[in-house]
Amino acid sequence: MSQVILDPRVAPPFPKAALPVLRNPQLRKNVAHATDVIQAKRARLVAEKTDWQELRTAAASIKDEALANLDGYLQQFEERCVAAGGVVHWAWDAAEARRIIIDILREEQASDVIKIKTMTSGEIELNPALAAAGIEAIETDLAELILQLGQDEPSHIVVPALHVSRSQVREIFARKMGLENLSDDPQTLAAAARTFLRKKFLSVPTAISGANFLVAETGSVAVVESEGNGRMCLTLPRTLITLAGIEKVIPRFKDLEVMLQILARSATGERMNPYTSVWSGVAPGDGPQKFHVVLLDNGRSAILGKHTERQTLRCIRCAACLNTCPVYRQTGGHAYGSVYGGPIGAILTPQLQRLEHAQSLPYASSLCGACYEVCPVKINIPEILIELRAQVVNKERKKVARFADPMYLGMRAANWFFTDSRRFRFAQKWARIGLRLFTGKDGWIHSLPSLGAKWTMTRDLRGLPQQTFREWWAEQPKEGR
């Protein structure tokens, strides 16, 4: 697993990265099982909500309203958060966010820091930077702990270790926690994590969290979780740092009544997640007495300026699109070469990074539309995928190297044949004769040589019929027509 690379700048293209997973039956079984379970629970709980479509519409419109006036709402958030005792920092890119966080931790003389699961921290590759600064990051979410101790990478936005089986977890915990006689019963494994982390919660004075929502009206942050590790990190330390993408802001406290109804149902198939924490700045005598928020741009303002792509910023990271995606369900998350996998990753990564670092991702989809259907904030992912594909093609169109690309040459040739009926008939005739050699008795082509093998390697091709419709029509008696 050590060869998994989740940095879009150096990760291999999607089709190449997907191959090891497709050849690993255990991994595929784990991914299929997990996504099946979440999907079934989600479907049941969405069905019981008679106003589900109205909630989706409301959620999308709340996010659109926030995005249309993002600078105003962010300033309002800043003002209210500062008034409540918080400190607000602005980070243009990942490097600046890392620097701000490390500076705060140095000022606190921190040698270690406890962390709640935050995708944004993965996006800015915070943990390696902390290690380089001599600060030990301790992941406290069970799945993140499994990955950290196993030196693995997340493969899902909500359940990051869904590709790891219980026996693998047992092996990792036994080795890293020094518990030789540990069983692989999930309850026992969770209890081991509880004991392992309890000491850290009570002794480490600094914590890092992400944010599910920033409330402009009150300067509050909302964090949604299940295990209670979040509440520990938000309550026990002296100093708390929250890292949040600028798109997390919603206008009003009351907007949570919509967001909290759709998030847990979409993410884990629960009516509500066990714990939701909401706080503004510093509460005297209760929880951390120093509170910092780092607002991260890192490519988001550029997405905001694009008409079709702006809706990407509505995303609340529920991962419903991953669980339903026929491509993700086969490949898992590592193939996407970024902490954001699945359909949302396929549109988010190429936009957050420069397109050429992730230009295979817009093609990592069958455009079936299942992701759009389940998205609780109605992001039209297929529409954005097509837009990004167009951008990839427009870039390639300008390259001289295209004349050496078989795909380009094939398309040019097809163009020449398809625009003239005589040339088309000629091609049909010779293709029929040429392919006869490869067509099996069942009428299917199972294997083609050279370039054609790229197709038949993963799927069969229907052989060409021995008669075209035009030929058949010409044979019919005139009066029968």
């Binding site: 602005w90 219980r166 969770a190 066990p274 924490s277």
Partner: protein
């Protein structure tokens, strides 16, 4: 600090340009056609709350107002625990003899960690999702006391239960500076999607539902006008 200021200016400038360029003429409005309130009677609401809590593996004991103390005693004894932490504003008659009570007037984390359980009230309950709402008042306690002990006994009155989440937000005429929404005991499904009760938060959530429905409607009306 000057670099921080310039990033702030840079981001806000970019956002202003982006929103003026790509925002449609008609500014988006929040479309709120979803259900605000349920049509359940007070009794049905309490029943639903109990049902949803039990689905989360919380233990629920229902009682009439005059039997509230007996119910608390029953739950405390059944827990087989001795040392309990309580918020400073909790009714003193609840601190029954035979148990070791620690009143949280700024107890250290280690002292709270040594307690076997915690007893609190709540701000509200949301029946639809089986959610207990804490605003951390003097009867609900600081966040830490309902977090570290492994056993949480929460006393919730039927008059505090609303049917839907939007109804709870309607109750918040004053927005709480801190709030915690609890839906069942701590849980995870991170290992092979098997739901495991209790990772870091209290593994045992006990709720006493006090049937004071008779005053429910007036109480909610008062709550709204507050």
């Amino acid at each position: 600090m000057s670099t921080l200021l310039s990033s702030r200016t840079l981001i806000l400038d970019r956002l202003r340009t982006a929103t003026t360029e790509a925002t449609p003429q008609e500014p988006p409005k929040s479309l709120r056609q979803y259900l605000r309130s349920g049509n359940l009677s007070a009794v049905e609401r309490t029943q639903l709350m109990a049902e949803r809590l039990r689905e989360y593996d919380a233990e629920v004991l229902e009682c009439e107002p005059q039997h509230q103390l007996d119910a608390i005693a029953d739950r405390l004894r059944a827990s087989k625990r001795l040392r309990f932490v309580v918020p400073p504003g909790l009714t003193s008659s609840w601190l029954l003899a035979g148990f070791d009570w620690k009143v949280d007037n700024g107890l250290a984390h280690d002292a709270i960690e040594q307690c076997d359980g915690v007893v609190t009230e709540a701000f509200a309950g949301v029946a639809d999702s089986g959610t207990i709402v804490l605003h951390h008042s003097a009867t609900e306690g600081r966040r830490v006391i309902s977090l570290l002990p492994d056993f949480h006994l929460c006393v919730l009155r039927a008059s505090q239960i609303v049917a839907t989440l939007p109804e709870y937000f309607d109750l918040c005429t004053r927005i709480p500076p801190i709030a915690t929404y609890i839906s069942g005991p701590s849980a995870t499904a991170d290992i092979e999607m098997t739901r495991i009760k209790g990772v870091h938060g209290p593994r045992f959530l006990n709720v006493i539902l006090v049937h004071d429905e008779a005053i429910t409607n007036t109480a909610i009306a008062q709550g709204r006008s507050r």
